[in-house]
Symmetry: C2
Subunit: 190 residues, 2 copies
DNA sequence: GTCTATATAGAGATAGAC
DNA sequence: GTCTATCTCTATATAGAC
């Protein structure tokens, strides 16, 4: 793995645990095993680094979500798998991880326009994909029909982002699963 | 208003907009119109200040919530009023505010044990009160019966905290209202 | 691509005068 | 209770040698 990728991996982990403002070039250098100046060689400024990280994260996450959204399972099953994506961000560690974009939404004032746009892209892309899953679920009868699919998708994403923060703070993976089960129950048919 | 209260007011505003790590004693001093050393006179350390702020915030919020939860309106109406409490955190300004505890959940790694406990207290207290509203709604028939009231209350809080972050990032108050309407619709009877 | 060294700025915090 | 002055540490960032 290249040093550049290595830096991004460490940066993502630290951001998910501590936030952008809680992570420094020194932290990155220490974790990767190089010097601060070497980190600057790969990413001239911190906002450059955050932008590169978000671009990569969005691409990776989009791919995982697309695989679920375009699957052949029922809409409900696809949605369940999507919810599990977020549960699996929590590893059960002491200072656990949450969604990258969840953290950055809370620190949005520290981002430049490019960073903010990446976070907005994450939201937009995810809402769109969740809409597709819900549409499929209504079509195949596994999810309850409703005239507000976009609002429902927004609700799903809000619950996931907020649920992760809550679960990390108190209750862990178990609490996150409980919230997701309840959400899926409310959206299911029958 | 005392200088101490003044500092807390400014601190709360800044934390809601920028986060704890995005706010400094210098920012507070500038906004209040005193010097950094004077801020330290009132709150020796930053974590002292955050603890005092959270204690005050929880007490104020608890009171507002209790007034709603103990009201005579239907459970559904009480829940609606509770959701509106969160909508009203957003003022429609450029860099808008979100829930204090929503921000701190994202920055939980920067808090000491006392601060973390205050955030947990916020969650616990709010979940409890939402449970009361849901119970009342089931009793009076305005909300749909379910065997998982605690999980539903968790879902409500997760949606509110995540919804605020999303709405501030993109869509504003309108988006927050849409999410809350959808949530209330899913929980309502009939 | 990595290093040492340094510049510059800001952070949280303290001492002591008024 | 507020001030000036200062301490110490850490932050982002750059210059230039290897």
């Amino acid at each position: 793995m290249s040093t550049k990728e290595n830096i991004l991996n460490v940066a993502q982990d630290l951001i998910q645990r501590r936030g952008v403002n809680g992570m420094s070039y020194q932290d990155l250098a220490d974790a990767v095993g190089i010097r601060k100046a070497s980190v600057h060689h790969h990413f001239a400024s911190k906002s450059d680094m955050v932008a590169a990280l978000l671009q990569r994260f969005n691409a990776q996450f989009d791919q995982a979500v697309a695989q679920i959204a375009n699957g052949s399972a029922s809409g409900r099953t696809r949605l369940k798998r999507y919810l599990d994506l977020f549960v699996n961000i929590l590893e059960g560690s002491k200072l656990d991880k949450v969604c990258v974009c969840g953290v950055l939404m809370a620190e949005i004032a520290s981002l430049d326009e490019q960073g903010i746009q990446h976070v907005r892209d994450f939201l937009h892309s995810n809402v769109q994909q969740v809409c597709k899953m819900i549409d499929a679920g209504i079509e195949d009868g596994s999810l309850a029909p409703n005239q507000t699919v976009a609002a429902t998708a927004d609700l799903v994403l809000a619950t996931l982002e907020g649920g992760l923060l809550m679960a990390r703070c108190d209750g862990g993976r178990k609490r996150m699963k409980t919230i997701n089960d309840r959400l899926l129950g409310l959206l299911s048919s029958g």
